[in-house]
């Protein structure tokens, strides 16, 4: 073998500088160890964070997958306890846990809740709350003839309104003649306690027989069923109109704002109605309050039957909106 290919004995015999190499290797290993420690730790923390992000996203997806169908909804009041009867079906892709029910009595503007429900509904399950199983919420001063709205709160933070599925007839009606629906059965009138204060507000008298030659105001419940689900705002140019005919004077009752104690405000601020929301609108003023001052209106001094109309004016979302509803017929006596 050639001499230059043999191991260099001189190199191996001379150990100067080896300690430096070993120290450098140690130093590099220590640095690598420390770096790997930090790197692996940060990687693990990032993975944990990503897992939580995925978990939170899944929570949101599950939340939006909840779907409850409510039917046969009915409210009755027994000794200040509102009994909510309904058939509830879980029509969504996930199981639902209902923890609270809220009920608002829109007539007396009071509300209550029951947070002891803890009802579990698997996908496709139906529960019927009726009679002794009815859900109960305490609202002092409530009455069965009042208007209610209610909603469930689920464990995923969803608010599920308890409202009957709006059938196609109602939807077509809303598209055909307008987005506001009226409740004939809740129509009422008010007499006056003083020139600008209604008596027995907001209960009034639920009747289609109205005293003749009397200062009255009318209360009408309207529901926003707009197919595009936009908020409707009613302005001061809206009125309850009773056309005249030979022997019967025409009557106009413009929209007003009424305080809880029945006092009518001299100025009118527009009333907004969200989709699905029901509110009572009071019509009382002889004048449009944007154009004149408040003056109460009187029924004709004739015993007769008349037709009435609701002429509504305002905005639907951000666009102008108006609707003429052929309303109830009244008998003045």
């Amino acid at each position: 073998m050639p001499q230059h290919l043999l191991p260099n004995k001189k190199f191996w015999k001379n150990s100067k500088g080896v300690s430096g190499i070993i120290a450098t290797i140690f130093l590099v290993m220590i640095i690598l160890f420390l770096y790997a420690n930090v790197f692996i730790f940060i990687q693990r923390e990032n993975t944990r964070f990503q897992d939580v992000v995925s978990e939170v996203n899944q929570m949101d997806i599950d939340r939006s997958s909840e779907k409850l169908i409510v039917s046969n909804l009915n409210y009755t009041v027994v000794e200040d306890k509102v009994h909510v009867e309904a058939q509830v079906t879980n029509d969504g892709a996930v199981s639902i846990q209902i923890i609270t029910i809220w009920v608002v009595d829109k007539t007396i503007q009071k509300y209550g809740h029951n947070d002891t429900l803890n009802i579990n509904l698997k996908t496709g399950d139906t529960l019927i709350f009726t009679e002794s199983n009815a859900l109960r919420v305490t609202i002092k001063g409530s009455s069965s003839s009042n208007v209610f709205t209610s909603w469930f709160v689920t464990v995923r933070g969803n608010l599920v309104p308890l409202e009957e599925e709006q059938g196609i007839i109602v939807a077509q009606l809303a598209q055909g003649i307008g987005s506001l629906a009226l409740d004939f059965e809740k129509f009422r009138y008010f007499t006056y306690e003083s020139p600008q204060k209604l008596s027995n507000y907001p209960t009034g008298t639920v009747s289609f027989n109205v005293p003749k030659n009397e200062y009255v105001a009318f209360g009408c419940y309207l529901t926003n069923l707009d197919p595009s689900k936009q908020t409707i705002t009613i302005d001061s140019h809206s009125l309850f109109w009773q056309p005249g005919r030979p022997g019967v004077a025409e009557g106009a009752w413009f929209i007003v704002n009424v305080n809880e104690d029945g006092t009518i405000n001299g100025a009118y601020s527009p009333i907004s109605l969200k989709y699905g929301e029901t509110k009572m609108f009071v019509f009382a003023s002889q004048n449009d309050l944007a154009l004149g001052s408040f003056s109460r209106a009187k029924t004709p001094n004739t015993v007769t039957t008349v037709a009435t109309f609701l002429l509504l004016h305002g905005t639907l979302g951000s666009t102008a909106y108006a609707q003429n509803i052929p309303f109830v017929s009244l008998f003045y006596n």
């Binding site: 220590i30 420390l34 420690n37 930090v38 730790f41 940060i42 923390e45 990032n46 944990r48 964070f49 939580v52 992000v53 978990e55 939170v56 929570m59 923890i99 609270t100 809220w102 608002v104 509300y111 809740h113 947070d115 709160v153 464990v155 995923r156 933070g157 969803n158 608010l159 908020t231 704002n257 305080n259 809880e260 104690d261 601020s269 527009p270 009333i271 907004s272 969200k274």
Partner: protein, 148 residues
């Protein structure tokens, strides 16, 4: 002999210094890891916070706004730092919010699936749309709109 002793002493000093540097570096690395873990933990707690507005009621006769909340997230101990209320032409901030459970008991925070409410004395215009923003102790914002 003295050369050997001095070499041994030198070697010992170098090794001791090496260990000291290594120990110090290890402590710094541990501090960095701990700080990173704390930041991650805070961020996780923040994104797991979920508050829902169950109901907002404005009492016109008493000028009092009542806001009902549900903590439906996976983070407990959700406190309220401030509330921001307003509309297109007006806004106001509220601090020192008194949070209560639904039974009226005062509480500092809501744990998971707990419901509570707070009240604010404020004069609002009825039938007007307002927004409300809640800032939690972990600096999450939850907002909604309502009609007074």
């Amino acid at each position: 002999m003295s050369v050997v002793i001095s070499n041994v002493l030198m070697a010992c000093a170098v090794i001791a210094l090496g260990f000291a540097v290594y120990y110090w570096t290890w402590l710094r690395v541990s501090d960095v890891n701990l700080e990173y873990a704390n930041v991650t933990e805070e961020n996780i707690a923040r994104i797991r916070e979920k508050l829902d507005f169950e109901y907002i009621f404005y009492n016109t006769s008493e000028n009092e706004l009542t806001v009902y909340l549900l903590n439906w997230g996976k983070s407990g101990d959700v406190s309220l730092a401030s509330v921001y209320l307003g509309n297109v032409s007006w806004s106001q901030s509220f601090y020192d919010i008194e949070l209560r459970f639904l039974n009226g008991t005062l509480t500092q925070s809501l744990d998971i699936l707990e419901e509570g409410y707070f009240q604010i004395s404020v004069a609002l215009v009825t039938n007007t749309s307002y927004f409300i923003r809640i800032a939690t102790g972990r600096e999450r914002l939850f907002a909604t709109t309502f009609i007074a």
